[in-house]
């Protein structure tokens, strides 16, 4: 099983090839350069793995939340590759990828993963450590003010993601049980690919055309008021 993974939702840009247990990854932090970097990075991981493009079984991508443009680069690249290779797609949550990474690097049963969503809000979700350290989502992923974050009855020991950089004070206040914060972490293709591989094994695939971002923030424009006319 060979899963190609792509992640461009934040300032970080990464590509990975997940082959059974092995992961080969390229990862850089390079704001606004994803469009220039991502395809050569994909070629690099394939070359290092000795895999040719037609051997790819499925494409996993960071489906969001994250930067709107970044999500569309990942979705567009995924659509093009999956359609071109006639293979299925595995949409993976960027917050779940962050949570997965935090469970590998630190102890604790619960994590609050969040990304700075600007405009005084974060994209966030709570995860519980599941089997083999795979994160199980508690409740829903949401775009919300950090003041509204709640622990939802589980012991949250960990925090991860850029939301913790911007809102450390408020979030620590809301989640008093957190003892360790991994704030310099971005979602990475290695974890997107490993979560995608589990979905692939479970048959949770979609078609190329269904590689669509999950933005969470859907109120992006205001309609002008209809003028009252006599």
């Amino acid at each position: 099983m060979k899963i190609l993974a792509i992640e461009t939702a934040t300032e970080a840009c990464s590509a990975a090839l997940v082959q059974d247990g092995d992961v080969i990854e390229r990862y850089v932090v390079a704001p606004r350069e994803h469009n220039r970097l991502i395809l050569p990075m994909i070629e690099e991981v394939l070359a290092e793995a000795g895999v040719v493009r037609t051997q790819i079984d499925a494409v996993a991508f960071g489906r969001g939340p994250g930067s709107f443009t970044g999500l569309r680069i990942a979705a567009g690249v995924t659509q093009g590759i999956a359609y071109g290779l006639d293979c299925p797609v595995l949409p993976v949550s960027t917050l779940a990828a962050l949570a997965f990474q935090s469970f590998e690097e630190a102890a604790g049963e619960g994590v609050y993963a969040c990304l700075d969503a600007r405009m005084g809000e974060i994209y966030g979700a709570l995860f519980r450590r599941g089997q083999a350290g795979v994160p199980d989502l508690i409740g829903d992923e949401a775009v919300l003010a950090p003041e509204r974050v709640e622990a939802a009855g589980i012991m949250v020991r960990l925090g991860v993601g850029s939301g913790w950089v911007t809102y450390r004070g408020v979030l620590s206040e809301r989640l008093k049980t957190v003892v360790e914060v991994l704030e310099d972490h971005f979602p990475r293709a290695a974890y997107i690919g490993r979560l995608g591989a589990r979905d692939f094994a479970a048959g949770r695939c979609v078609s190329a055309g269904e590689a669509i971002p999950v933005y969470l923030r859907d109120q992006v424009a205001r309609k002008p008021r209809t003028q009252a006319r006599e």
């Binding site: 569309r72 567009g76 006639d86």
Partner: protein, 343 residues
């Protein structure tokens, strides 16, 4: 430019508010094209909302791709190249089509080409059976551009004149708003103008009284505002304003076209871009071409506005000439037409 073997190129257009896909075959011409217009999506906002446009492109690309391949009777492996609009346009919208197009080319292991949107428009009349030979004079009129171009061949473009402020199509959209008409404004103003009387009000023909081939349409808006403020708001006034505004734009374009034809001695006039669908302008330019003894060419109406066919065509010509893009997703919101490589 047709050859004996087929070279089939997929064209992808997502620079603004239309998602267009098409397949052009170097031997058999245009095989299929499909378009999704977002006009309804943006109408409630009074103009294009870039983020909504980008979101819609990424949803519509694959369904339209399947549609054109199926209509052309082709499988994905029959494609010999992928051309996508890389600019100018809205950067988020461009990136959606560019990411999918460039990645598709990589997956199929075929060359990709980043197409200049205005080159697509400029070459659109070459999709027709009765098509112009090079060289020709091109009047490019759209919501974003108003240019007179000396076209010696593909990629050999001399800008003779252009708008110093608003594009002609932009002026139509803004005047539509002043007249309480919806978006997009061009067709709405043109329809209202049909019912009005040009000449009741008198608007200037900007920059026609001095030499040169540049345009300026922003002053016309001020005149429209002044006339509307000085008269009672009723249907007759609005129709007469629309008629005179359209007459002023058309006559201004006409004067500059005539001047450009005489200065260059070119024998063919090509008119393209969204505003080239305007009926009043088409008939005025037909008259001009007879008076000047030149031939005038328009794209078919559906290829006046943004479409994938013109991108597939332009991309096909450049790919056949051996040009190709490196492995990167190209998106250039600003991209001067006269910096393109000649064929």
């Amino acid at each position: 430019m047709q050859s004996n073997t087929s070279f089939r190129v997929l064209g992808i257009e997502t620079s603004c508010d239309e998602t267009g896909l098409a397949v052009f075959d170097s031997r058999y011409g245009l095989l299929a094209h499909a378009l999704h217009s977002q006009v309804q999506l943006h109408a409630d906002y009074g103009g294009v909302v870039p983020e909504l446009a980008s979101r819609d492109h990424i949803r519509k690309l694959l369904p339209l791709l399947r549609e054109v391949l199926s209509a052309a009777g082709l499988g994905r492996s029959d494609l010999d190249g992928v051309a996508y609009t890389a600019g100018p346009g809205l950067v988020g919208a461009l990136l959606a089509g560019a990411a999918a197009g460039r990645a598709l080319a990589w997956a199929l292991d075929v060359p990709a080409l980043a197409v200049h949107h205005m080159e697509g428009h400029l070459l659109a009349p070459l999709l027709e059976a009765d098509r112009p030979e090079f060289p020709f004079l091109c009047l490019l009129v759209s919501g974003g551009h108003t240019q007179l171009i000396d076209v010696a061949g593909i990629g050999r473009y001399g800008i003779l004149g252009e708008s110093l402020d608003d594009a002609a199509g932009e002026a139509f959209d803004k005047v539509a708003k002043m007249l309480g008409l919806g978006y997009p404004g061009g067709p709405a103003v043109a329809a209202l103008a049909e019912r009005g009387m040009p000449g009741r009000f008198r608007f200037p023909r900007p920059m026609t009284d001095r030499p040169g081939l540049d345009f300026s349409f922003s002053g016309l808006k001020t005149h429209v505002l002044q006339v509307l403020a000085a008269h009672p708001d009723n249907a007759d006034v609005r129709a007469d304003v629309a008629a005179e505004f359209q007459a002023a734009v058309v006559e201004t374009l006409l004067v500059k076209c005539r001047r450009a034809l005489r200065e260059t001695g070119l024998q063919r006039l090509v008119v393209s871009g969204g505003v080239s669908a305007n009926r009043a302008m088409r008939s005025a330019l037909r008259v001009l071409s007879e008076e000047e003894g030149v031939r005038v060419y328009f794209p078919r109406l559906e290829f006046c506005t943004d479409n994938g066919a013109m991108i597939a065509y332009a991309g096909c010509q450049r790919l056949l000439a051996g040009q190709a893009e490196p492995l990167r997703i190209a998106a250039y919101p600003r991209w001067p037409l006269d910096t393109l490589a000649p064929l």
